[in-house]
């Protein structure tokens, strides 16, 4: 079964580049895009416009931007970690920021990795390939949470 990535990204151009990078990375995957924090949470918890979606069908990894409209990335991360059904989901922060404060808070809230978006696309493509390879091919996910 093709594994799924949830990409939380509000910038259309970044989204397009990310899709292209993952498409070309050689690891088969399906990418779901949420364009702000609220959208991402609705998707994960099958609420709002994602109501009716099977909440058990979870992404293998979440790529989370920090600067997002409505609900910011760090708050999304906090809620993911707060809910029993999502607390074990791998979250990779993917952002432009390299501020110590952002890094510290992201890790404190339980980010699994922190990636700074490089300007150079070749570098980004390389990172995408490494991400997909690791999280989709090699990483073993936690057993599904049962209430």
């Amino acid at each position: 079964m093709t594994k799924r990535i949830l990409l939380v990204e509000d910038n259309a151009s970044d989204e397009k580049l990310a899709l292209l990078a993952f498409k070309r990375c050689g690891v088969p995957c399906e990418i779901e895009v949420a364009r702000d924090g609220a959208d991402a949470l609705d998707y994960l918890f099958a609420t709002g416009k994602h109501e009716g979606r099977d909440p058990m069908a979870r992404p293998a990894v979440i790529l989370l931007d920090l600067k997002l409209p409505r609900i910011g990335g760090l708050e999304v991360l906090r809620r993911i970690r707060a809910a029993p059904e999502t607390q074990a989901l791998p979250v990779v922060v993917l952002t432009a920021s390299r501020e110590d404060e952002d890094l510290t808070r992201a890790y404190a809230l339980g980010a699994n990795a922190y990636l700074r978006k490089p300007v150079d696309f070749s570098e980004f493509a390389e990172a995408a390939k490494a991400l997909a390879t690791f999280w989709l091919r090699f990483n073993e996910a936690a057993p599904a949470h049962r209430d």
Binding site: N11, L17, L20, F121
Partner: protein, 613 residues
């Protein structure tokens, strides 16, 4: 008249002798009544002949305390025929005169007493002279050694002795003063009252300053005046009571005081001078303007009136503490201080204190500055800085997003359509990629510059030797094809934020590494030097160097002395280094010559810490 039977001409001559004599010639009856009173007697005792004739001599001119002495002399004269006495007699105006009193009894052939002839010579001037001589020999040495002008005055108010300082101060030769009433040294407008004060003091027995609380003046021979401080002391001698007046010219002190007041008034701060009990002694015009009180309302009041009530109690304690150890310092350097205006409004102040040693004891002068505006500016600046930080943060991040788009799609275009692109189109796309990448680098550099300006400093002891060695080996492993000799001196220590200290060393070494790339035997030295006046760390290379004419531009952001093609870089490294060092309280400067290398000297504080051998 006394008739002794001589001729008219002889009488006239005797009359002339009697009347022209400067002595008092008096004839007394047996019971002591005045039968004759010469002109000389009128002059000396100031009674007219008509007033004197028929009076008892004792009633007229003998002071009460000398009555028995006078009676004794009269008795002795009658018994022995002749007496001589130096004594004091009273004039019509009550004043005293010292006289040599010769009495002779004149008898007829039968031996019956006809009358008593009295000859009184005024010896006041002789006495004065004698007193002056005696005093002079006794005190001259002492007087001349005194720093003040010293005048010794007799009971009669005449100057007995004066020292050299008096001549200088008042402009009189000494001879001219001796025997003069001391009032010649007093300005005319005070002369009338002076003898009264003088006589009153003659009854005291303690030394004291003259005219407490009153401004005193001396008068020079040329009529000019000067402010004076005068202290008096009584001295009893055989010649009677003498008064010594020590006179100090206050002109210089008054001038200094005026200058002090002038400075005080000109001061841009409110100046409040307080005595040891916390009372306000002096304020300037700025104080009136700042606090809204008039000078009169403040003088003598406790300084705490200028403080909000909640600070008053603690303040008087602090004040005591300050008087115990008065040194120049800022008040409550860690605290926000407030002043209280007369209308009840409070305002933030900064206060610096300094002790003033005065003849009246230690006073404390406080310079009070209203910092309302500065506080407002500071907080506006803080807001502006915060906004600027937010701005540069978001600029740095948001600028990168479109760059990623430009770079990403150009790269995709290049990768995906490589075969179908003309070589020229290929070239242009490569230019876009390079430019975007370079702009990315600039944004990163800008971001790191703004980061070193705003992150909090956490200074601790730092081993610069270790940092420099680690940094050098990192440079070597990232650039394996180059052989650079790096010599780092042992034991370079300082107190600094470890993270930022690393940034400093990394930047300086990377710089040296970069600029030695065209040199045959590149070498970098890291050490500490005492050369020049300051002790400083240094990083020296033998690379491309620079023209000293541009030394000042080295540390400006985005200023580069070389082209990117020669030596790539963003022009932000040295700017960051300088900002880090300045934030620590240190500095950086450089020496160099084109093609002869460069040396960067730096300190984290005023001075570099020592290198341990």
């Amino acid at each position: 008249m006394v008739h002794d039977g001589g001729s008219a001409a002889e009488r006239t001559f005797a009359e002339v002798l009697v009347e022209e004599s400067s002595d008092a010639l008096i004839a007394l009856t047996r019971d002591g009544r005045i039968a004759f009173w010469s002109h000389g007697a009128e002059r000396i005792f100031r009674y007219a002949r008509a007033q004197a004739i028929g009076q008892l001599l004792d009633d007229l001119i003998v002071p009460n305390e000398r009555r028995s002495e006078a009676q004794a002399q009269l008795d002795e004269t009658i018994r022995a025929g002749f007496t001589l006495l130096e004594t004091s007699r009273r004039r019509a105006d009550g004043s005293r005169v010292v006289v040599d009193l010769v009495m002779r009894s004149v008898r007829d052939e039968a031996g019956a007493l006809r009358f008593i002839a009295v000859n009184a010579t005024d010896v006041s001037s002789l006495i004065r002279l004698r007193a002056s001589r005696a005093a002079e020999t006794r005190f001259r040495g002492l007087l001349e050694a005194a720093p003040d002008a010293m005048v010794i005055v007799g009971e009669d108010g005449r100057i007995v002795l004066a020292n050299g300082q008096v001549e200088q101060l008042f402009g009189y030769p000494r001879d001219e003063l001796i025997g003069q009433p001391v009032e010649v040294l007093v300005p005319e407008r005070f002369r009338g009252r002076h003898p009264g004060h003088r006589r009153a003091y003659a009854l005291e027995s303690q030394p004291r300053p003259m005219g407490a609380g009153v401004d005193l003046f001396g008068r020079r021979k040329d009529g000019s005046e000067f402010p004076a401080e005068i202290s008096l002391s009584p001295m009893d001698s055989v010649e009677g009571r003498l008064i010594t007046a020590a006179i100090r010219d206050l002109s210089e002190r008054r001038k200094a005081e005026e200058m002090f007041r002038g400075l005080l008034e000109a001061a841009p701060d409110a100046m409040v001078i307080v005595d040891a009990t916390g009372r306000i002694v002096l304020v300037n015009a700025r104080t009136e303007a700042l606090f809204g009180y008039s000078r009169r309302e403040l003088l003598e009041r406790p300084v705490e009136v200028l403080l909000p009530a909640r600070y008053r109690e603690a303040h008087s304690g602090h004040r005591q503490g300050y008087f115990d150890r008065p040194v120049q310092r800022a008040m409550g350097s860690q605290l926000e201080l407030h002043g209280l205006k007369k209308d009840g409004t409070e305002f933030p102040v900064e206060i610096s204190l300094s002790p003033l040693d005065t003849p009246d004891g230690v006073l404390v002068s406080s310079a009070i500055r209203d910092v309302t505006e500065r506080r407002a500016t500071e907080s506006a600046l803080k807001v502006a800085n915060r906004e600027l930080q937010a701005f540069s943060y978001s600029v740095a991040h948001d600028l990168r997003t479109p760059l990623r788009g430009m770079n990403g799609f150009a790269q995709l275009l290049l990768d995906t359509y490589r075969d179908r692109l003309e070589p020229e189109a290929h070239d242009w796309l490569t230019e876009i990629l390079t430019s975007a990448r370079r702009m990315g680098g600039l944004i990163d550099a800008l971001l790191s510059l703004s980061r070193v300006s705003r992150i909090e400093l956490k200074p601790e002891p730092v081993d610069l030797t270790a940092i420099a060695r680690a940094s050098a080996s990192q440079l070597a492993s990232a650039d394996r094809h180059r052989e650079v000799t790096v010599v780092v001196c042992d034991g370079l220590h300082t107190e600094a934020d470890p993270h930022l200290a690393r940034t400093v060393i990394d930047n300086l070494l990377a710089n040296a590494w970069k600029f030695t790339r065209h040199v045959a035997a590149p070498r970098i030295d890291v050490g500490v030097t005492d050369a020049g006046e300051r002790r400083a760390f240094f990083v020296r290379d033998n690379g491309a160097g620079f023209d000293m004419a541009f030394a000042s531009k080295l540390f400006l952001p985005f200023q580069r002395l070389h082209t990117v093609a020669e030596f790539p870089g963003t022009g932000i490294g040295l700017a960051s280094v300088q900002r880090i060092l300045q934030r620590h309280g240190g500095e950086i400067w450089a020496e160099g010559r084109i093609d002869h290398g460069a040396t960067f000297y730096f300190t984290f504080h005023g001075r570099a810490a020592g290198a341990e051998p």
